[in-house]
């Protein structure tokens, strides 16, 4: 019974808020579905902070990350806040520039996967029948394959490069979004205005473009952000295994070199291992928080 009581309190609180807004006639009540809540706000803040630090990297990073600016393995000092790495480069600068690589890979890989996922989800959900069956079979297959070994295999063959990493991640993580979006399309398809459009003789292409696509775009956005969070984590794993782009060091690559040089056996792990991991966690958490909050606000199946 305890749980019911808790729910009632939350509901009452929301009602109070709505009442307060209604009583202020000049202020229009914000559309409820776009409220992110505390979790979402924290997520957005994390993303904004990290991306602005990445954007301002040339101005806020103390050194050029590809320049030898000190002795190897220097501990933190006033000149190098996080010390230097095995070749005497400034770790702090490397991490600030790393934001660009990690977040760009995450974004682009997520874009690839959501483009595929949305297409598959819409086509499967809208046309149903054997098309749906075939595509969902494909989704099931992709979900069973152990994705990291497959990515390692592909990355090893294709060679470590910026675009290869993006494509490999993008082509392997579209299955979950496809499934979520298909469910949304299924519920949209049975709505009256879609039936009406079809009855008026609109072509499939037109119905899809004008009526179905707008209905799933917001959910696609939530899925995109969740995919970006996953992609950042996968990129870190691949780079950590030495499969990242050697010319563009991401947070995962920094950890790869720390591992290869056994940083965890000396005191160096405190400034060489901890900071990149905290950054990865912050970025992944930022996207995950935002994505979950958006999904909860937008996905009718999660609303009660």
């Amino acid at each position: 019974m305890r749980s019911n009581a808790a729910v009632k309190t939350t509901a009452e609180a929301t009602d109070d808020g709505a009442a307060a807004r209604a009583m202020a006639p000049t202020v229009r009540a914000p559309r409820r579905r776009f409220r992110l809540g505390a979790v979402g706000t924290v997520g957005v803040l994390l993303i904004v902070m990290l991306s602005s630090a990445g954007g301002l990297a040339p101005w806020i990073a103390p050194y050029d990350p590809d320049e030898t600016v000190g002795d190897p393995f220097e501990p933190p000092s006033s000149r190098h806040w996080l010390g230097t790495n095995d070749v005497g480069r400034d770790i702090l600068s490397e991490l600030i520039y790393g934001i660009r690589i990690s977040m760009t890979v995450g974004f682009l890989a997520a874009a690839v996967s959501i483009a595929i996922g949305t297409l598959v989800g819409i086509v499967a959900g809208y046309f149903s029948g054997w098309v749906d069956m075939l595509l969902m079979r494909l989704v099931d297959i992709v979900l069973v394959i152990p994705f990291l070994p497959l990515m390692i295999l592909l990355a090893a063959y294709l060679g470590p490069s910026f675009w290869n990493i993006i494509l490999v991640i993008g082509f392997l993580v579209w299955a979950r979004p496809a499934r979520v979006l298909r469910a949304q399309v299924l519920s949209l398809r049975s709505l009256d205005y879609v039936d009406a459009a079809r009855a008026l003789g609109a072509s499939s292409a037109r119905v899809l473009r004008r009526h179905i696509l707008p209905g799933v775009l917001s959910l696609s956005l939530a899925q995109f952000i969740l995919a970006a969070s996953g992609a950042i984590l996968i990129e870190a794993s691949l780079s950590f295994l030495g499969l990242g782009d050697p010319t563009a060091k991401s947070w995962g690559s920094t950890l790869y070199y720390a591992q290869v040089r056994s940083a965890f056996l000396s005191g160096a792990w405190k400034w060489w291992v901890v900071p990149p991991g905290v950054l990865i966690t912050a970025a992944v958490l930022g996207f995950a928080f935002t994505g979950y909050a958006l999904e909860e606000a937008l996905n009718p199946r999660l609303q009660r």
């Binding site: 749980s3 297959i141 070994p149 984590l233 950590f240 030495g242 950890l255």
Partner: protein
């Protein structure tokens, strides 16, 4: 029930076919001679006669479909290829490594499921309280942490720092041990990798159990049970939990691939001599046949675990058992 298993069987057969075909096509579709990938980069130093013999062995001078048949035939006989770098059949290398991974993944999965399910149950029961929200926060944090990083921190603190655990490997090398000391030695090596893999697996289990439990607690039969005065404990364990466990079992299967992937990275950090570490070593050495065979074996293992789970599923869900 039969239809359910047959459908699953087709799915796994297709996954297997995909893995095999990909492994077959990759070295043959890449630019340059497939020999570079099948044998290794020092193929240039190999005498021409030996090179020709390997060409014949793989049937590389024949049509693609005949090569495919040869490939399938070898695979069916348990021939996973030959590592020219290590000079040993790959099946032998993998058989040496597989038990370690099975031990690590098996124990971690078991532990993570027990902890995650119990934790999710408690959180859902206390829905909306600080216990529930705090648990969600902790779970999301660990879900967002890179597993290899967690492992590195564990080594730095508990192995290198406090010296409680060994820093790498699965056993002490060069010291003959027997009896209890042998077991303790293996367990001490297993502790940190297992703790890492368990910690990153728990959040997934927790989230599923919590959501499933929340959904079940809203069902009318739970309300009915409560209103007729069934003790709260019995409502939770007898009515709600048993039904909430069903989706957990489904997602458990979907998660297997993720857990195995996690093991790949964690074994690398701890130099734990399993399949994942083998994959990493093969990537470093550009030993393509080993990379491929490892991917194949991991896929087969995941399918195997899925089949076991599918066979167990009717036992926990009588509705599947009685459906046509």
């Amino acid at each position: 029930m039969l239809r359910f298993l047959a459908g699953k069987g087709v799915q796994y057969a297709l996954v297997l076919l995909f893995a095999i075909t990909l492994n077959f096509l990759l070295p043959r579709m890449m630019p340059g001679s497939p020999l570079v990938f099948l044998v290794g980069e020092d193929i240039g130093f190999m005498p021409a006669a030996q090179r020709a013999q390997i060409m014949r062995e793989f049937g590389l001078d024949q049509a693609l479909w005949r090569q495919y048949l040869i490939y399938l035939g070898n695979l069916a006989q348990g021939d996973l290829g030959f590592s020219y770098q290590q000079g040993r059949p790959i099946a032998e290398i993998i058989l040496n490594r597989l038990p370690w991974t099975l031990l690590l993944v098996g124990l971690s999965l078991l532990l993570a499921t027990l902890i995650g399910v119990t934790w999710g149950l408690l959180a859902a029961w206390r829905r909306g309280t600080s216990v529930d929200l705090g648990s969600l926060g902790v779970a999301m944090f660990f879900e967002s942490t890179p597993s290899f990083w967690l492992g590195m921190i564990f080594i730095a603190v508990f192995a290198a720092g406090f010296g409680w655990f060994p820093i790498f490997g699965a056993q002490t090398i060069g010291v003959p041990l027997s009896g209890a000391a042998w077991v303790v030695d293996r367990l001490r090596h297993l502790a940190l990798p297992m703790a890492t893999l368990t910690l990153i697996t728990i959040p997934g289990m927790f989230m599923i159990m919590r959501y499933a439990m929340l959904a079940v607690l809203d069902e009318q039969y739970v309300t009915t049970a409560r209103s007729k005065g069934v003790a709260e404990r019995r409502v939770i364990y007898g009515h709600a939990m048993r039904n909430a466990l069903l989706p957990v079992a489904t997602v458990f299967m979907l998660n297997l691939g993720t857990v195995v992937s996690g093991a790949t990275v964690i074994e690398t950090v701890f130099s734990y001599p399993g399949i994942g570490r083998l994959l990493f070593e093969a990537v470093l050495a550009r030993d393509y046949p080993v990379i491929q065979a490892t991917f194949f074996i991991v896929t087969v293992s995941v399918i195997g675990m899925n089949i076991i789970a599918d066979l167990l599923y009717p036992i926990i869900d009588p509705r599947v058992r009685h459906a046509r």
